[in-house]
Subunit: 303 residues, 2 copies
Amino acid sequence: MSNIIEIVEVGPRDGFQSIGPLIPTKRKLELVDMLYDAGIRRMEATAFVSTSAVPQLADAAALLEHIAGKPDLDAQVLVPSLRHAERAIAAGATHLAFVLSVSEKHNKGNVRRSPAESVHEFGELAKLVPAGARLRLNLATAFDCPFDGAVPAAATLALLEPLVAIAPEAEFCLCDTTGRVTPDRVASLFDAARDANPTAQRWAFHGHDTYGQGVSNAVAAWNAGINVIDSSFAGLGGCPFAPGATGNVATEDLVWTFTEMGVSSGIDLPRLIAAAREAAELPGASFGGRVRDALRARTRIAA
Amino acid sequence: MSNIIEIVEVGPRDGFQSIGPLIPTKRKLELVDMLYDAGIRRMEATAFVSTSAVPQLADAAALLEHIAGKPDLDAQVLVPSLRHAERAIAAGATHLAFVLSVSEKHNKGNVRRSPAESVHEFGELAKLVPAGARLRLNLATAFDCPFDGAVPAAATLALLEPLVAIAPEAEFCLCDTTGRVTPDRVASLFDAARDANPTAQRWAFHGHDTYGQGVSNAVAAWNAGINVIDSSFAGLGGCPFAPGATGNVATEDLVWTFTEMGVSSGIDLPRLIAAAREAAELPGASFGGRVRDALRARTRIAA
């Protein structure tokens, strides 16, 4: 097993999107700079979505332009449809993350399409990706749906098959949208997905800490051989279509955990925590994670 | 692997002890009753300690008397020395939990003895245990010390050897006093401890959630074959001699997790959560856990 984990910082998209009051673009760029300076080299920087549905991300092009100047930063942008993918490519995106849900209800709520329609759209999108650009597939409700509860592994595997056939070079991210999956199922679904799709070489995990499973599931994914894991600084985040599902796992909790396990993320924890503390103070932010407070307590005692 | 986990609810001792303002004994008994009614059948009910050092637990005998009347409740009481063990036995205790630390500094801070002196005292205590009573050994700082950092596995194993020789019938609980151990080390230390001590049949794990490892480490212990795990309702707890180490893992988070994994604890989650919500409102309580809030969010949405 490699001793290097790739953390995908999703705070600037998944995190900011969950915050009601508009964050000034300048403030977003300052926080992105802090993340970069802490050593974050992969980021879901923004999303190209309907600005009337998600006004918080109306400044997607400005985010993308700012980030383009940062050496060695792999900035993915979320696109829920072909139309928005075209906007992202026109704005210079070099890494597109398409999202669809295994759950019919969740996909309809999220993008107003059936999963099968979204699979077709992923096929069209794959043809559009410019040479040298990267493609990711975020498979939402891969384990559990806020409307229907547990999603059978068979349903996720059935949807993965045509997606992998379309673009085996893509990265496939299995997302625990609700935070309700437990580590045993994380491990078993990754094992099954990789066995069934040997042509897919790149896998990732996206988890939430809503039910306290954030660190546990990330470690389970890592132990199952997954070395790309999403998280959000200060645990910002949630999903507007997954009621109650607040709280991506906190990046600082994962960096702390993996560092203790001897696994390197290349991220400087004190700098990351400085960024996370500022993020947790954004007006309207709901936040999570334990390591910020634990280290603050230790610092106080040392002082 | 068995599909039954035994949760040891340590809130009435470890949790209450961490709260500054004195909790009226009557209030403690009400909360203990709620825990019992939720299906808790094993509890660290109190400690027999110096009442000047820990005034919160000066009502140990009253707690013990109240609990004695509850059918099928296994109530252990913590005793840090021979003298206090004698008090506990005189008060009718049928399950004694002795505590000592692997770390010299931590043991001196906690009980003013060297670990070797505490081992000797455990030997004396084992002779005192009345027929039919049970004995547990809580091995604090088994992984990490608040003063010295990581505790080498060799040090913990070296201390375990004479302890197991004294009372192989006892239950040996490896405690992560600081919350800083990660699941890989939980698993490997249990593997090594059991390999080295085949005569010891009963093992347990005690973890904290201070750094977000609470659920993850409990699952790691379970996967390593440990089916007795300590936790505290509402995540109450900490250690007065472990600066910054607030937050036992929350019982409701473990019950939720293991239930989802198909492992039964015999505990009714809604009733447990009702007790935990009251505990979190005790004046001066610091609390943790995620499941209380996650389920409250879902209930609100359903309403």
